[in-house]
């Protein structure tokens, strides 16, 4: 069985690096793809440009989404996903520095499955990733998401 792909949408290079680093440390079996901002996340999910290749860039089993990003914000990405007939069921965990009630509520209103305030140290990050792995990637039964590959992939 193919390993689940996690799509991390994160504009901060360090944050993305730590995420990857901790995943490796924890020996998580999932493969990680990083979109560097909201626009790139949309392109990835929509299979545009280089993301047409669904073998290299498969539809993720889990999206970890930052909120405050240039170009297209996490809220916009979330809103867009929930409007796509094929992608709307995707599991999205928001991971943001913001602990403000309004951000948290808005994320849930737009259809976030979970909200995590970004941990500040690597130990805490490891803790969060371990929880995500245990619950969202092991115990939780996710939706079945299939996308039509017509015109979206160059792979036969």
């Amino acid at each position: 069985m193919k390993p689940i792909t996690i799509l991390l949408v994160e504009d901060e290079e360090s944050s993305a690096f730590f995420f990857q680093h901790v995943m490796t440390k924890l020996e998580m079996p999932q493969s990680l793809q990083v979109a560097q901002d909201g626009q790139e996340a949309l392109d990835y999910l929509d299979g545009k440009g280089r993301f047409r290749d669904r073998i290299t860039f498969p539809i993720p089993g889990l999206i970890v989404l930052d909120l405050k990003m240039p170009r297209v914000t996490g809220f916009e990405v979330l809103g867009w996903i929930r409007k796509q007939p094929e992608l709307r069921k995707l599991i999205v965990i928001v991971m943001s520095t913001s602990a403000s009630d309004s951000d948290i509520n808005q994320a849930y209103e737009l259809g976030a499955n979970a909200y995590v305030v970004k941990p500040s140290g690597l130990d805490e990050l490891a803790e969060v990733l371990r929880s995500i792995q245990h619950f969202w990637l092991a115990h939780n039964r996710g939706p079945i998401v299939r996308v039509s590959t017509v015109d979206k992939t160059n792979v036969p």
């Binding site: 901060e12 360090s14 944050s15 690096f17 730590f18 680093h21 405050k68 520095t97 913001s98 602990a99 403000s100 970004k118 500040s120 140290g121 690597l122 130990d123």
Partner: protein, 357 residues
């Protein structure tokens, strides 16, 4: 002479001459009432008169006199009335002018008041907007500051964990300092964010059962459970008018202080009790067996970033009680404490009583 004297006794003495003249030659007297002397024509005294004629003439003279007086009065009255009317007219004009001026002044004043009101409203809106922008700005700055900080800390941690073997103990110690400093700064930023949140939280007051809330808060923290700490709620805590999030913050901060400031090796023993106060107010005491607070430090306890003890002894940023005080004040309450060094401290918060839901 007799008649003259008699005439002099009359109340209207100025008319004596008229009567005299009338007695002599009424037609002349009527023509020249004010000049009786001129009417004294030669031979007038010699006109023959019977007693009856004299009496008739006299009656006519009296009637004439009345008419004359009435006429004169009427004339005087007419003059007076005309004068009065003119004066009244003038006064009315003046008054009208004054009233118009007053009205104008009033209009101007109310216009100005209205303008002033608009100005105040506009300025208030501007100020509110500025405050909102400033809040949003500081909030986002605080957030943005956490990101590079996370970077510093993360890389230092990775260096320590994976490349620590290449460093001597001093080098490792420096890296540990970087990690500590970064996490301390992160705590400060988080506390400032918490403080701004308290300042601007929507403080709708509802009845809050402190008995339940306090138990819930205590249950969250492993370090507040026995045998690490003994926290006891004495009796039943009251229901107060408050805001759940703010009160949660207050109880958390008060308890974490109560547990923290202990002499080494002492197990924190904390008692929480309610006390009904006059005017439907409820006080809740948080008493501990800690190091206490010296009288000289009394005024500094609630100050922002004030730390009464060295940070190597006790962790923290020194903003905890500032947050509690602001939160209690936002709920219309009071906070204070009693303490002596070595005798523990007794903090209390006081809020309006809330009816049990």
């Amino acid at each position: 002479m007799n008649r003259r004297r008699r005439g002099g006794q009359r109340p209207f003495s100025k008319n004596t001459a008229i009567i005299e003249a009338a007695e002599k030659r009424p037609e002349v007297a009527m023509k020249n009432p004010m000049k009786p002397a001129a009417s004294k024509l030669p031979g007038s005294d010699s006109a023959p008169t019977t007693e009856r004629e004299r009496s008739r003439l006299k009656d006519a003279a009296v009637a004439n006199e009345s008419l004359l007086i009435a006429g004169l009065h009427q004339q005087e009255l007419t003059f007076a009335a005309e004068a009065l009317s003119t004066r009244l007219q003038v006064e009315i004009e003046e008054r009208k002018a004054a009233e118009a001026a007053l009205q104008q002044a009033k209009d101007r004043l109310s216009n100005q008041a209205l303008e002033l009101e608009h100005l105040v409203a506009a300025r208030t809106a501007e100020l509110r907007e500025t405050t909102r922008e400033l809040e949003a700005f500081s909030y986002s700055v605080a957030h943005d500051m956490r990101e590079p900080l996370r970077g510093m800390r993360g890389y230092a941690e990775i260096l320590l964990a994976e490349h620590g073997a290449m460093l001597n103990p001093t080098g490792k110690a420096y890296l540990e300092r970087i990690v500590q400093s970064a996490s301390r700064m992160d705590m400060l930023i988080q506390d400032v964010l918490a403080y701004t949140k308290v300042l601007h939280a929507d403080a709708m007051l509802t009845p809050i059962d402190l008995n339940r809330l306090t138990r819930d808060v205590i249950a969250i923290y492993p370090e507040w459970q026995e045998p690490l700490a003994e926290i006891e709620i004495v009796g039943v805590l009251p229901t107060v008018l408050g805001h759940e999030a703010l009160l949660t913050q207050c109880i958390t901060n008060l308890l974490s202080n109560a547990v923290k400031f202990m002499d080494p090796g002492v197990v924190p023993r904390i008692q929480i009790r309610g006390e009904a106060k006059p005017d439907a107010r409820q006080r809740v005491w948080f008493e501990n067996n800690g190091i206490g607070i010296a009288p000289k430090d009394r005024d500094r306890v609630f100050g922002m970033f004030v730390r009464l003890n060295s940070k190597t002894e006790f962790g923290g940023t020194g903003i905890g009680l500032t947050i509690v005080r602001r939160a209690i004040e936002r709920m219309g309450g009071r906070i204070d404490f009693e303490s002596e060094p070595g005798q523990g401290s007794r903090f209390w918060i006081e809020l309006k009583e809330g009816s049990k839901p």
